[in-house]
């Protein structure tokens, strides 16, 4: 089979498909992890998922990441550090506790943390926060390393710098492979793991898939001794249902890395593929992070980077066979959660490819669900 896209999701699809006994070619017009994978933070989160299909996928993925960490953990900088979601107000904490109760019912481990305990978990947190919830299953990897090591471990034939120009289909409509700028790659199955560009690859097969980019900035501080132990983020947005509809949304997400710098996110904007720097966004991120961790006020930001999350209108990925094109599979549109959801996605795609019953119901992820809605 051919996997289009050598990012995190494509690498995971390649790995699980290869382990299921398939011959895999992994093709990308750029390098490994050259798109959204290389522009994220490497979060493996269950904490930020509402109960529902995405949370089931996140739980499956978290388990699979834990298994992969047995072989590749050090190489991919796997850190089962846990996530700490903090609320600044009693109302925010109430909403967070309600979310956590629903997640717990779905199988997530959650540990309520009262205000007095927060700083024993995170000594540098700002005083005066209302409380929080600890999510021990949250973890982190270094995403570029993770994509590269999973691709290597798959044993797939890697074709980088090779652009897919068409999805080849036979007289019966079924997939026969892909045409590239350097010749055809023939295979009875093609997996669209092109992330934010997944809509373009779908179009090459003649089907619509409304993947759109949602821009996010990350700030990188100077290297520091470990001062932020967990992935820490504010829960206010959970309660903040009255958020204005301005294009820009920011909520502070702060975490240390194995290499020393602290990473600060997360912003969301729908501005197409605009790569220009935005001072207002970066300023809002820095201010939000400093409210959580006042010591950051004296810390220098070395650089910023940005990426484009691939989002679909209902914020769920497209995952599984495309009933419109026999042999075409999709594994894209994971928005800001693609690193975390990659393992489960790869596993489910491999199960679907080998004719088995995927261990999660793929119905909510059906790639043709948008077309149906449009004609309904």
């Amino acid at each position: 089979m051919v996997v289009v896209g050598a990012g995190m999701v494509g690498a995971a699809c390649a790995l699980y498909a290869a382990r299921a006994g398939l011959d895999v070619i992994l093709v990308d017009r750029g390098p490994v992890a050259g798109g959204t994978t290389g522009a994220g933070e490497g979060n493996l989160l269950v904490s930020d998922k509402e109960p529902g299909p995405e949370l089931h996928l996140a739980l499956l993925s978290a388990r699979l990441w834990g298994e992969l960490a047995q072989e590749l953990g050090t190489a991919v900088e796997y850190e089962p550090k846990g996530g700490l979601v903090v609320a600044s107000t009693p109302d925010g904490l109430t909403a967070l506790a309600r979310l956590a109760a629903g997640q717990r019912a779905a199988g997530v481990r959650t540990v309520p943390v009262d205000a007095s305990e927060l700083r024993s978990l995170e000594p540098h947190l700002a005083p005066g926060l209302a409380g929080g919830v600890l999510y021990p299953q949250d973890a982190q990897v270094m995403p570029t390393l993770a994509a590269a090591h999973l691709a290597r471990a798959s044993g797939a034939r890697l074709e980088t710098g090779r652009t897919v120009t068409r999805v080849l289909r036979g007289a019966d409509g079924a997939v026969r492979g892909v045409r590239t700028d350097r010749g055809d790659l023939l295979a009875p199955a093609v997996v669209n793991a092109a992330g934010t560009w997944g809509g373009e690859v779908a179009a090459l097969a003649g089907v619509p898939l409304p993947v759109l980019p949602r821009r996010g900035f990350v700030l990188v501080t100077e290297p520091l001794p470990r001062r932020v132990r967990h992935k820490v983020y504010a829960a206010d947005y959970v309660a903040d249902v009255a958020s204005d509809s301005a294009a820009l949304q920011t909520s502070p997400v702060v975490e240390g890395t194995a290499a020393g710098p602290v990473l600060i996110g997360a912003s969301r904007e729908r501005v197409g593929f605009d790569r220009s720097f935005s001072l207002p966004v970066v300023r809002a991120l820095a201010a939000g992070a400093t409210r959580l961790f006042p010591f950051l006020d004296d810390v220098r930001v070395m650089r910023t980077y940005l990426g484009f999350r691939p989002y679909l209108p209902d914020h769920l990925p497209a995952l599984g066979p495309d009933p419109r094109v026999p042999g075409l599979f999709h594994a894209c549109g994971h928005e800001g959660a693609g690193i975390g959801l990659a393992t489960g996605s790869g596993q489910l795609i491999a199960q679907a490819l080998t004719g088995g019953t995927p261990e999660l119901d793929l119905t909510p992820f059906r790639p043709d669900r948008f077309a149906e809605e449009a004609t309904a």
Partner: protein, 99 residues
């Protein structure tokens, strides 16, 4: 040949900075890295992992290899920061922050 003569530069009045406590002569307009190089110092940081020596690598502010502590502020890029009279420049160990 003295590079100043080579380009017929007329340097301003020299001043001194301190590097790890000793006085070093500096010319106006030079970066911290240039001042240290002129004094024969090529390494002023140790890596976080393994304590290996580091100095200028790219020299244009991109690589963050030449980090140094200036006037108590760690992680200054020596290749970009101008040397100022009386500056207190110190070898930076690891992150430059207290563990």
């Amino acid at each position: 040949m003295n590079p100043l003569e080579l380009v017929r530069a007329r340097a301003g009045t020299p001043f001194t900075v301190r590097f790890d406590g000793r006085e070093i002569e500096a010319l106006p307009g030079r970066t911290v890295a240039a001042v240290l190089w002129s004094a024969g110092v090529t390494a002023w940081r140790t890596t976080r992992d393994g304590g290996r020596p580091r100095g200028v690598f790219c020299g244009i502010g991109v690589c963050f290899d030449c980090l140094v502590t200036v006037d108590g502020r760690p992680n200054q890029r020596a290749c970009l920061v101008p040397a100022e009279p009386g500056a207190d420049i110190r070898t930076q160990e690891g992150t430059g922050h207290d563990e």
